[in-house]
Symmetry: C2
Subunit: 132 residues, 2 copies
Amino acid sequence: MTHQQEEQTYTIGELAREFDITPRSIRFYEEQLLLSPRRTGQNRIYNNKDHVRLKLILRGKRLGFSLAEIKNLFELYDSNPDSAVQLKTMLNLTEQKRAHLRQQLEDIQMLMNELDEVENRCREELAQLKRD
Amino acid sequence: MTHQQEEQTYTIGELAREFDITPRSIRFYEEQLLLSPRRTGQNRIYNNKDHVRLKLILRGKRLGFSLAEIKNLFELYDSNPDSAVQLKTMLNLTEQKRAHLRQQLEDIQMLMNELDEVENRCREELAQLKRD
DNA sequence: CTGTTACCTTACCTTAACGTTAATTGCTTT
DNA sequence: AAAGCAATTAACGTTAAGGTAAGGTAACAG
């Protein structure tokens, strides 16, 4: 019984559609060494690991990280965590990122509050207008 | 008793230092119509309103908004909310921004979780190394 | 065989958000 | 008066993240 590892694969077009980006972007991420899909002839074939990576890339982007930063994180994550030095470096970096995220959370909180106020004022004024 | 409204003012250098950006950036924001300080002769004089605006600009930037978007938000915020149409437009836009922020919150949550895992793994490995 | 579709590469173009440099101006401090 | 400092304008340079156009290949449909 040959145990075929039927791993799922994707074409570049499929990924582009799924994540609502252009193939150009995906190729660009590869050019920047954030992805490295297999090939069949010329064509790129993406597997599950690539799929996950792409998702992470986009998540990182939404949070305002540059592709270079995302690449760094990948490299850290992938690097065999063998030396204490490496591990400590990693801890430092995660702490930096954490600080960044905390700042963003704070910003979001303040903005949300302001949006609430604006919205309330709007609603009141709308109500006023209706009353006439 | 002449009630002097001693409003606080700032030079461009003071603002730059306070917010840890360059004067160039502040002038650029003005060029993009996000600020419009008074002048004494050639020199720019910023008041409290400008100070608040600058803070908002930077907050917006940290959240990934473009200067153009921030400008739009300012204009909406400033526009006299007189017509029902205007108010409804505003409500729509705030809802859009809200969705954006929610997405970011979700992203941050997932990233935080992943950072936690990575960190824990690192700490365990460090402990391992020490034990030898 | 022709056309369509999806993929490919190469190469140049674009936009946002400043950085950098240069040349100038007006204090104020020595 | 000279020097130093903070401000000014103008203009060109830079970087990131793709967009876009041109030309080419492979598979398949009619």
